[in-house]
């Protein structure tokens, strides 16, 4: 039971990262590799701030702002520097690695019982693992609400149009470069925030904790889509978070089968690969119906 509650809590926090990735991968329609640098960057900022006695709320906000900064850099390289977006992301990601080492001073820094957002007093009264679930849920709901609202504004619609048909967007007077920069900043802000929260949850920041985060985020997005199919945009945001939880549960299951945590990266890659091929199987075997039954029926 406690394994499941801790997995759900983790799934919610990783869901924030997946929401960020959704903005670039699904709405702007390109893969942003910055995530693998932004995630540890958020964690590094947050953890070292906490270690230096900064208030947990401010430390968490700092991880969001830090993420926005990395998004801005990738965005500028891509739009103004005309560097292909995949490479722009890789450049930022690579550069941040050194910055993270600078911030942390070494490869891994622990929290050492400092106060975090997750051990605030009122959360301490909850049973084990529930602080993470409560905080994850609050953040996920808040972010989904804000994103849904944003996507329904004139600016949000211009942002969606940019990813959907750039040429058309320009012909309607939308500055698509600015939309891409905005999207990358928002996206990486959320990813940095996820780094900060998961760093607090795990009690440490590690310069290598970004490896594989792209795959984790994409898996959440795609599992959400496979399970829930065609939905309105707001419902798709919710599906992303649920996809993230399902993904964690699948990992837990695999672990129970006797694999070790060392196999995690391989397993994540395999899970994502299978999920991405599902639409192919879907045509042949109607897997979506089967999966839906499996998920919605007790």
């Amino acid at each position: 039971m406690s394994l499941i509650t801790s997995t759900i809590g983790q799934g919610l926090l990783w869901g924030i990262l997946a929401l960020g990735l959704f903005l670039t991968f699904r709405i702007l329609n390109f893969p942003d590799m910055t995530v693998e640098g932004t995630f540890p960057f958020g964690a590094a900022i947050c953890i070292s701030a906490l270690v230096h006695g900064v208030n947990p709320i401010i430390a968490t906000i700092l991880s969001f702002l830090g993420g926005m900064l990395t998004g801005l850099i990738t965005g500028l390289l891509y739009t103004k520097g005309k560097i292909p977006v995949l490479l722009a992301g890789i450049l930022t990601m690579t550069g941040i690695y050194s910055v993270n080492l600078r911030i942390l001073g070494k490869a891994n820094v622990g929290l050492l019982n400092k106060a975090t957002l997750l051990n605030e007093k009122f959360l301490q009264r909850l049973p084990d693992n529930f602080p993470t679930i409560v905080v994850g849920l609050l953040f996920a709901i808040f972010i989904i609400l804000l994103l849904a609202l944003f996507l329904n504004t004139d600016l949000g619609q211009a942002f969606i149009a940019t990813g959907d048909n750039e040429k058309m967007a320009q012909s309607l007077g939308i500055n698509t470069d600015n939309m891409k920069i905005l999207g990358l900043m928002l996206s990486n802000g959320l990813i940095g925030l996820a780094g900060g929260l998961l760093g607090q949850n795990g009690g440490y920041a590690d310069v290598n904790m970004g490896i594989g985060t792209m795959v984790i985020g994409l898996a959440a997005i795609i599992i959400g889509e496979v399970v829930y199919g065609n939905l309105s945009l707001t419902a798709r945001l919710i599906a992303v978070v649920i996809g993230s939880i399902i993904y964690r549960l699948i990992l837990l299951l695999v672990l129970q089968l006797g694999f070790s945590t060392n196999d995690f990266k391989l397993i994540s890659a395999i899970i994502l690969a299978i999920c991405m091929m599902l639409p192919l199987f879907e045509k042949k075997f109607h897997t979506r119906k089967l999966l839906k039954k499996g998920v919605t029926k007790p």
């Binding site: 004139d154 600016l155 619609q157 211009a158 969606i160 048909n165 012909s171 309607l172 007077g173």
Partner: protein
Amino acid sequence: MSTILDLQNITTTVNVGTSEEKNILKNINLKINDGDFITLLGTNGAGKSTLLNIINGSIFPTSGKIILKERDLTNLSEVKRAKYIAQVFQDPKMGTAPRMTVAENLLLATKRGQQRGLHLRGLDRHLEEFKRETAQLPNGLNERLNTFVGNLSGGQRQTLSFLMATIKKPELLLLDEHTAALDPNTSRQLLELTNKVVKKEHLTCIMITHQLKDAIKYGNRTIILNSGKIVLDVNGQDKKTLTEEDILQYFTD
């Protein structure tokens, strides 16, 4: 009759300094008057699309000036010019956003060239208007306002593109073979619609076409481009008496 668009000595050269150097437009001078409906003709590669792209700002001329209603647009980007200029492309996929609904596409178009901020988009407020506007169109778009545009036929998408270009009145409307990808019937319908709207809204419009009959039938003025030069520019009575044989004389290489 006032001049809307004034092209002065427009020259466009590509691949400058290489063996591929090519003069696409050669010293074009053109004044377009308020309410002109121009049909633009010319062989493949004559430079018609390039001329429209120069006007809409997606490419910049090598030399020359572009004046729209006394504003110098020469150095303004396509995005900035969108405030004044609307366009429909040849490819139905180019003018619409496939993963947005018909109504959402129209809403984007009502704000062409405007500052887009953090106000709620207010789709509901516009639905009545969109229903009314689409009901005037030939292919049942009014029943499909909430359909994703990617699920529409090419004809429906192109009709939508046209409505999007005109729903907020542009100072200049550019149509680049906007019916070329459609079947003869749908193409006819969209041309009739174009003619009706341009007249009713008193739009100033340049329409590229390869159909000589259409070029003669529609508009008050016909221009023929050949190898980057204007070789014919007729209006009024001269345009009315223009025949296909007359036009073909100018289609030499």
